[in-house]
Amino acid sequence: MRRRDMIRLSAGTAAAALAAPAIVRAAPAPIRIGVLAPLTGVVAAGGKEMVQDFSWFWALHGNRAGARKVELLVEDDGSNPDTALAKARQLVEQSHVDMLVGDLLANTGLAVANYVKGTGTPYFIPIVAADNLTQRDRIPNVVRVAGYSASQTTHPFGAWAAQQGYKKIATISQDYTFGYEQCGGLAQTFTAAGGKITAQFWNPLNTADFSPYLGQLANAGVDAIFAMQTGADATRFIEQYASFGLKGKIPLLGSMNFTDQSVIRTMGPEVEGIVSAAQFAEGSANPTTQAYAAAHVKKFGTLPSLYGFAMYSAAMWIDEALPKIGDTVGNPKKLLAAVESTTLVGSPLGYPVTLDAYGNPIYTIFIRKVVKNPQGKWWNVPIHSYPHVSQFWTYNLAQYLKQPSYSRSFQGIAKT
């Protein structure tokens, strides 16, 4: 008897759960933002920072945009494209959000982008960096609000490396799109300026032991090594680079996430002096950036990471765009037009940020070096800057779009 009751009970619970009505709307209708972030899975640490900084912005503004309330519906994409897709579907079709923001990994972003192509829901990607989303495969309602494309920061980095007098560089990158594109950007501009890429290695995500690669890198006879690693891979690579005795012998150049706060804040002297390129440097002397970083330290006890910075700026971007459209937030076309025409004035970067015609922001790209700040924490300080860098660098737009996207087999390396 008891068992049967239990089955009945669970069946009843299931039916009740299915029949649960959509959340009742309050008047005046709040703005509903669906936030997708990897709260579990391989990049969960980054995902938590995304949600934390995005929510922080709205909390600072009373969870309001103008007269209307802002409701955040946070869903875990599980670092998995299938889950991301299911959650996006749920947020759009069930929760009727006005827009989607977020995702971290390119594969989750691409899956959601493909879905919103059909629904027309505005989808803002401050972190998903896959070049083609704002280049060859542009989807009009997918906009890189406060985001960046993968090769945008490494194009100037390659040119900078050539200027330092480096003649030969070997690269080691994670074996997926973000790795191909970040590495390709550097390889293309570095070889165009006369440099040589002597060897390229591709390590699988979550490489525990870099020693096979480090042995070859050490003997490659190069002037510098470029490493594109994220998360735990970055931590391990930096540690092993130092323990192999390569630190100080061969200059180490890194991708934007390589020396991100999320990596270096827990590390020791092995991170010192690594040079990387990004649109944001928490150690920039700009007073607006410093005020933002100080507020972040006060609130969370940590310096802002790229993920946090991007999501915070995205929230600000949405906040600045919303007054333009008044009560018509429910109209995706108007919302997109407002966001695209917005110049972000309050950016923590301290200068106004605009989007190019393909929905990707134009930034000053910093070449940054890891040093200790007065409080004894590691941070990235700009040592050089390239103003007004778009995702197309100095290339002719039409020509650039004709070249294939960066991949393992195409790294834009100039033929000699």
Partner: protein, 310 residues
């Protein structure tokens, strides 16, 4: 034939679902049907041939990948993509079968697990074809079933037809022979049955069901990634079969329903839905080890026997 009216009412309710359910819940219903096929394909082998597979996610996902490759990359009609996807799934199932049917028990489980991982590895690393980590996207849904209800009806029709076929199969002499192998392979051999050929055929039939599910999943999701062929999908298939009841065939619908509801509805209320699932699964194993449908079947005769007394 008193069950006929009930059956017809149930069928009518299923067909009428799009008029009752909003879009999102309808998409959940599509997922339930698709995953029920995956569970059923596992159940066909586990419940009737006594061979528990942990590689069916790979077979299912192969169909998803091939159908998307045909429609998104080769720009073939999605219908042809679906057919080729199912064919590819059967082919993969045949390869699996050829390597795995000589074993049984835990060795069969491990072999299918390993073969599934091979498929996953291929999908992850052969990025020029599979898109690597990014997967394949787009254009897998024909215009005819572009709307939610139309897609639902197609999936419903395909699922019902497949389930009917599977039901017929397990009650055919072939199905009985499979059950014979499950109970005693040696005796079946001594009776003159070619057990290897029978198991390979059974595996192929199971692959066909998984392939239909996977192909439809491609049409629904318009997206395939390594996680579609990953171990987690195989585990989901096995969980569905176990929750519903191994050897009940239609228990998969219940199992898929429970799993999809947990994943999509319970997760709205708590981030710990996986813990809820784990606890529920433990409870199920203790109180209803034969699965929900299996347990119902066990209870029914008792209830019937009690009736005259009251």
């Amino acid at each position: 034939m008193a069950r006929l009216p009930a059956f017809l009412a149930g069928a009518a309710a299923l067909v009428a679902l799009p008029w009752v359910l909003p879009d999102y819940q309808l998409s959940l219903a599509v997922q339930v049907l698709v995953f029920a096929l995956l569970g059923m394909s596992v159940d066909l082998l586990a419940g009737y041939a006594g061979r528990t597979s942990l590689g069916h996610g790979a077979i299912f996902g192969t169909a998803t990948y091939v159908s998307l490759y045909c429609s998104a990359t080769l720009h073939l009609s999605p219908w042809i993509g679906l057919l080729l996807g199912v064919a590819a799934a059967v082919l993969v199932a045949l390869v699996f079968a050829a390597l795995a049917v000589r074993t049984g028990g835990v060795y069969f489980l491990l072999l299918t697990l390993a073969l599934g991982m091979v498929v996953w590895g291929v999908c992850l690393r052969w990025s020029s074809v599979t898109g690597g980590e990014n997967g394949l996207r787009g254009g897998a849904r024909p215009a005819l079933i572009a709307s939610g209800p139309a897609l639902y009806w197609l999936v419903l029709a395909a699922t019902v037809a497949t389930a009917a076929g599977a039901w017929r199969l397990v009650r055919s002499p072939f199905g009985l022979a499979l059950r014979g192998i499950r109970d005693s392979g040696l005796r079946m051999q001594s009776l003159g049955y070619g057990t290897t050929a029978l198991l390979i055929a059974g595996f192929a039939g199971s692959g066909l069901i998984a392939g239909i599910g996977g192909g439809l999943y491609g049409m629904f999701n318009e997206f395939a990634s390594p996680s579609t062929v990953a171990l987690s999908t195989s585990v989901a298939g096995l969980l569905i079969a176990i929750i519903g009841g191994v050897g009940t065939l239609f228990g998969s619908f219940v199992g898929a329903g429970v799993l999809v509801i947990l994943q999509n509805v319970v997760s709205e209320y708590t981030d710990r839905w996986q813990s809820v699932m784990g606890l529920m699964f433990i409870g199920l194993m203790i109180f209803a080890p034969t699965g929900l449908i299996g347990q119902l079947r066990r209870l029914r005769p008792r209830a019937a026997a009690r009736k005259p007394l009251s």
